[in-house]
Symmetry: C2
Subunit: 196 residues, 2 copies
Amino acid sequence: MIAFNVLLFEGFETLDAFGPVEIISKLPKIYKLDYFSINGGIIISSQQISVNTLPFSAIDTTGVLLIPGGLGTRKLIDDIDFINSIKLLSQRASHVLTVCTGSALLAKTGLLHGKKATSNKMAFDWVCSNGNGVNWTKKARWANDDKYYTSSGVSAGMDMTLGFICDIYGEETAQDICKYIEYIWNRDKDNDPFDP
Amino acid sequence: MIAFNVLLFEGFETLDAFGPVEIISKLPKIYKLDYFSINGGIIISSQQISVNTLPFSAIDTTGVLLIPGGLGTRKLIDDIDFINSIKLLSQRASHVLTVCTGSALLAKTGLLHGKKATSNKMAFDWVCSNGNGVNWTKKARWANDDKYYTSSGVSAGMDMTLGFICDIYGEETAQDICKYIEYIWNRDKDNDPFDP
């Protein structure tokens, strides 16, 4: 089983994290889902959902890492301990997936330097300002460069996660998940209806 | 503020509940989101998310009710106390929204008798068997009859919630939410790509 590690923090955006989680859960023989925050315990999303988490220290660091966005990123971007932690975790992870302003947190580590990446439209300038040297691409449903997958706003994280699955396990596997959860997948990562 | 009451239970499907929640949260001056289970406390979703909840007794019963589906419904459908509780809550609620097999729980109360409703494709026969006298419609992204909104599988709950918002607050409000969370809305409730 591959660890699929979901990083949570105060003020994370619910669908950024739990949209991808829904999709990954349909491969139960491949991935094991777990939820982490820097010190563990209860974390409250921007939608007032109280979620119990394990501490970062309990992470199987060889797994996949998911970093959501949300209003909480505005504070965390200046938290050196947090950024250093996600840098270490991202270096060790097999793949790193970010959604929305989660891309800013990853960019701040420096690991996206020289790589293509995207984020949501509403906060695009702010995200770019936290990632000098990143090849920021505004018109993208999601972007993939090396082991990094970055998506545009909130819902785009689901399309990206299906893209990630498609790249590794093939399109039929991704489409089977869509059928199971009746999800209408925007399967072309360059088709971004929100930056026409 | 209108209470938007999300009913959770062991083995609820994450996106059934938290997809609609994401959308409703973009009307923060109208709705207040809260999460409930029959006795309160920690509830674990089918995706292993541990969520803290309040008991049913704490619900502002005049609000909107959201009933997700998930594997947990298979046990609850025969739990008379639970079904009686959601019957009472549904009678008092201004609107009741169900996603996926959550439609079976609502149907079991008898409140959908003579009304048009839908559910997911994978469990459609099982859902129908728990709602005699309901006008079950398989080809529907979602259905609305009186104060009841019922959706097909998992992801369709988000389209339905936008439809609910559109009906009450107009299409511009629904489209603004789509833009904000970069969600590609299937806005025609009769357009169901999963029952071609």
